[in-house]
Assembly symmetry: C2
Homo-oligomer: 352 residues x 2
């Protein structure tokens, strides 16, 4: 049995009975029942995932996976491909937005190279999980082989399992890769049966001509590859990116070890959608961090029936929305530990 | 000149030129322009309020004002009036939701008694700003006199000015008072010209009969008092609560000292609306923390043209939404300080 199959088989649906026990603990706290809204839902979700009615506060990490995309040659981004490698170095030096927001959240950042065109120096502090230096241009054929897709998925699984073994219980997933909103758009169009027009957005900020090229690229990718939406591995190989495949693997690996996953924005969301199609039970481990400005994100969220925690008009990726949402998850769990009960505090309970 | 008039006169519109300078700093950071969405807006807002293009991280406090309401006798709450005093003690002992969330946010909590029926012990750590032990039932006449309204406003001003002098630069405002969603509903109906049906909600969780009593109470309050919406002080005296008046004062006091204000939910929002009607320039200092589940909140937000940062279905009050939103404001300001520029990091800039 492959690591991928074994990982999927190991994913269990989080226990709804545990969530109910946690809700009873919350109902005894000095507040009207359910008046902390989604914070209470998060506490219950996290408890069910962890299998403890009052789990410890999350131990947090953010995985940022980077790779390059053959389709970048089609002029689909406002930035040149070199920026992927430049930003990877910015991540490990601590100067990017994700570093700032992860520091605030108390989360460690793990940067992984799944296939950046220019590999970072070996001593730079980047996890080398390279498949090769970027995908092929999917407007001319598959982005990668099925075997490469499995290898990228398994690299992600390995990293998530390692982090789980080090005690991480809440994993944020983010990415960097010039051209990757085009790949996420193609995956979304295929997996949600949407038109390129509806899923393609400005990404890092292309102009009208660039937007037209992105739509054209997605349309061509679908025509040239004719991916079968019922074969998620095939879809991933045709239309994905190495970092997207790696993230889908990290999500599956996290769920297989009862680690909750904060899914960042559109590209991470497309990776989560691939993971859900590979193994639907993974859905119980996913928390949508924020609603991105990218139009395709709405489709991705709807396909997984997910409602994001935040709506701050972010469109940066890197895991920035996941880092911001970590404090909301923390807050839900912290309530469980630190709030007084009606009995403790001598406060009259209406029972409502 | 009264303290109230002097405070209103001192409120200056935050400098839009400073916000533009801060946006230029943000545009040099390693991310597509404006891709951090509302975080960038917050950084610019905070800079304009503070009058510095790169202001230090916010120094945070949350003021929780408590008082009782004569209208509670009309059976408008799921909880007995004693709960106001009981919760005040819970706040100073650190066991309430606001304490947990303020600890997480790194904000100090200041609890003030503006008129709780049973005063807390003198040594309990509650700021004594009492007007008297609760308002009159406003279904039979004014909740308080105009003079009492001014005294409560000025008590709030005094507290905010004191906190500003101690270095606070971001003030969250929250409240506790059994019956106070009914007062907030009456204020909202009057100040936004809405029907009681549209602004009254379940509050702490009343049943259908309780909801009908709340609507009836608001309707009666409007009929009996006939408040004039163009006289905000008169509206506050007829329909307000001492904690609501105190919060309106705290908001004015904060703005007069260039302190940004995170407005919590429906009741704090009604207080902010009163403050805006007393002095429209205060609007530039207000940040709506979250969208409450209470239906009247939407009206309050629309009347001030405010778009909340969070939508987590909270309906607790106490300042809980303000505490959660503090980390979002922090994140915006932190980006200004800690992110690398394109030049620092050697990353190619698209200029977009």
């Amino acid at each position: 049995m492959s690591l991928l199959d074994e990982t999927c088989a190991r994913i269990a649906i989080p226990d709804p009975g545990m969530a109910e026990r946690t809700q009873l603990l919350l109902d005894a706290k000095t507040k009207p029942r359910r008046s902390l809204g989604r914070l209470e839902d998060l506490a219950c979700r996290f408890a069910a995932i962890r299998g403890e009615e009052r789990p410890p506060l999350p131990v947090k990490a953010i995985v940022v996976m980077a790779a390059d995309h053959g389709v970048a040659a089609a002029g689909v981004s406002a930035y040149p491909q070199e920026v992927t490698a430049q930003m990877v170095l910015n991540f490990v030096r601590g100067g990017a937005a994700i570093n700032v927001l992860a520091r605030q959240a108390g989360a460690r950042v793990v940067v992984a190279d799944l296939g950046v065109a220019t590999p970072p120096p070996a001593d730079a502090g980047v996890r080398a999980l390279r498949i090769r230096g970027g995908t092929d241009d999917f407007t001319r054929g598959p982005a990668m082989t099925r075997d490469e897709a499995v290898r990228a998925l398994e690299a992600g699984i390995g990293l998530a399992v390692e982090l789980a073994s080090e005690g991480v219980t809440l994993l944020g997933v983010g990415e960097m890769g010039i051209g990757n909103t085009t790949a996420a758009s193609a995956l979304t169009a295929c997996l949600t049966d949407a038109s390129p027009h509806d899923v393609v957005g400005p990404g890092t900020g292309v102009d009208a001509a660039g937007l037209a090229r992105k739509r054209e690229a997605v349309q061509r990718a679908l025509e040239v590859n004719r991916p079968d939406a019922s074969d998620p591995l095939g879809v991933l190989a045709c239309l994905g990116g190495f970092e997207i495949a790696g993230l889908a693997g990290a999500i599956l690996g996290a769920a297989s070890r009862r680690v909750a996953v904060l899914v960042d924005g559109f590209i991470s969301g497309a990776a989560a959608l691939v993971a859900c199609r590979l193994e639907p039970r993974v859905a119980g481990y996913l928390i949508a961090a924020h609603r991105s400005s990218e139009p395709g994100h709405e489709r991705v969220l709807a396909a997984m029936d997910m409602r994001p925690l935040l709506g701050l008009e972010l469109r940066l990726g890197e895991g920035t929305g996941a880092a911001l949402a970590m404090s909301v998850v923390d807050a839900g769990v912290r309530i469980l530990h630190e709030m007084a009960t009606f009995a403790d505090a001598g406060v009259a309970d209406s029972g409502r």
